[in-house]
Amino acid sequence: MKISGAKIVVETLIEQGCDTVFGYPGGQVINLFDELYLNRERIKHILTAHEQGASHAADGYARATGKTGVVIATSGPGATNLVTGIATAYLDSVPMVAITGNVPCSLIGRDSFQEVDIVGVTMPVTKHNFIVKEVSELADTLRTAFRIAKSGRPGPVLVDIPKDVQTALCEFTPNNQPVVPYPLSFALEEKLEKAAKMINESERPYIYFGGGIISGKASDAVIALAEKTDAPMGCSLMGLSAVPSDHPRFLGMQGMHGHYASSVAEDEADLVIALGARFSDRATGNKARFAKNFKLIHIDIDIAELDKNIPSDLAVQGDIRDAAERLLTMLEKKERPEWSARIAQLREEEKVRTERALASAREKICSDCTAPCNAQGLPAEERLDPYTIIDIISEYAGDSVIATDVGQHQMWAAQRYPLKKPRTFLTSGGLGTMGYGMGAAIGAAAATGKRSVLFTGDGSFGMNLNELATSVSQGLPLVIVIMNNGVLGMVRQWQTLFFDRHYSNTTLNRKTDFVKLAEAFGADAARCFTPEQLRNAAKEAFSCSGTYIIDCVIDCDEFVLPMLPPGGSIDDIITEIK
């Protein structure tokens, strides 16, 4: 029997195991939405407030589960509104299929109403994209899109479907199961042997991992590697949650705002084993200085990442879990007591430095604040500070998925939040998309059925707070923690340190009342100035079943420390603002 292209899309989505899609209707996807209506018992559509929110929600759904996220938008502005979300997913290797409607084939290229060449627009930010002009190719193109999205290093794929292809009729044969990914490539034996030799000969090995460990399901193998070699581990922002934060060998995130101990340990290592990481500039700082003191083994599924940013001494292409597991069998079990002692010493140093930095931050808070600082008036010891906020929330949050926006709060959460399981920390690492968090938290809550916690700032939250409408109307359990400092804190921090305190356009001076805002959207909220108020709010927030905003007022001159200045290196690390 022949069915419409629109029905083929929905049938293929269901066939591919898709239970929830995120999107927004419009003129060129009406047919598709009609099929979503008819099949609403088989596949759930979550309507967002804006297509950008939908794209981040599909991303959050994918990151929280490992499944491919799906977003649907209409042509023209609907499609272009997805671009930031697609680029966010691309930079962080998130499997996503974006489906856009387009004007009928006969109107393409005529600058028709709501026509845009979305395939052209998204070419540099997708793994691949398609425009389907024949309904007979529709089902297989969608299947290929899913296949590409989840194969090897995952990423977003866009499928543009003109309206006449949605209305055209065609035979459809369902597949019994979702497409399987393209076969993985596996590391060459001789490369792994060479790697094993280098590791065995190393006195101070250091394991550095990225997001590839999460998508490659290699957490256990990496921990086993660290244990067998007696090596410490550190990670990039994208690697967070792959290994429990409290793992005795884990030193935390490194890079621009990474932990002191992990950054120094890496620099003192004689061998770095990089697994599923891509050495972004935020992770390395000055590239010429970065790998000066150690040899580098780089293992990644994506051959183009090898030697792209940092030249390695041994580059190994292959599936990360397979490589790590095979490497494990080749390694000698070895104690490295001197190196372990040095690591322990670095941890102690870090503790001292952190305490000193926090104390001096308390001392100077607001003393030279030039912005209208919301926190003025309370004595320093009674105020909320970022780490206290994170610590208190983590006491109540249980196994919630954590999402963040971008800026200071993101780095504080990355440094401090105690993560336990992979896929519980959703953050825009590569693109650094302010406004990512609301959509991501919604997508994660919809995917897992569990509560999401969003750490955000008053700047980031302002970018996509319209999605409060989505979380409220969907009845999703969501706790939004706003670190409200009245400024764009991260840029302000740079202005303080490198631009003679010229606070150009970073002092928000807004009169937004987030408690009233929550009420307007139908959510609950509390404003907190003190730890005690925060505890009370958290108790309430984590027992309510809907959306709850906790507006935490903090000082505008809180800093994210440590900091490697942009383009700087471990030699320039700032651990305290004097």
Partner: protein
Amino acid sequence: MNDQYVIAVLVSNISGVLSRVSGMFTRRGFNIDSLTVGETESGGFSRITIAFHGDEDIKDKILRQLQKLHDVREVEVLDRKDTVIRELLLIKVRNKTESRQDIMTAVEIFRSKIVDYSPTALVCELTGETSKIDAFIELLKPYGIMEMCRTGIVAIERGENCLKTAK
């Protein structure tokens, strides 16, 4: 060490594939000396020949990025020693009594051909390696080049070796 590399890229014959390939060069900041694209013996594939300058590191980066593109089926660096490399030039020169004989001599020595003749202009056609084309253009400059176009490099390996699709 900046050498010129010539690579052959076998791609699926699908609309947009040229944008994907050239877009990769733009986005990653690699420069192209020349790029040609045309049909192959098999209808499903086109062959793109790209020449670029760079060191070995740049070359490897370009190859790896190309291999990642979904529509790219095969990429190969052609070894200049074992490769026939050709370019086609069409060049229009002023047809003046005082220079005509010199031009004819150059055409003969370079094994070029005059493919159009009018009272005021001559069009010459020349096939050869890039260096030969460059030398010919240089030679004709004094006589007044009115316009010219060249195809960029096409290249094929000598002997039995062929660019095949593995994937």
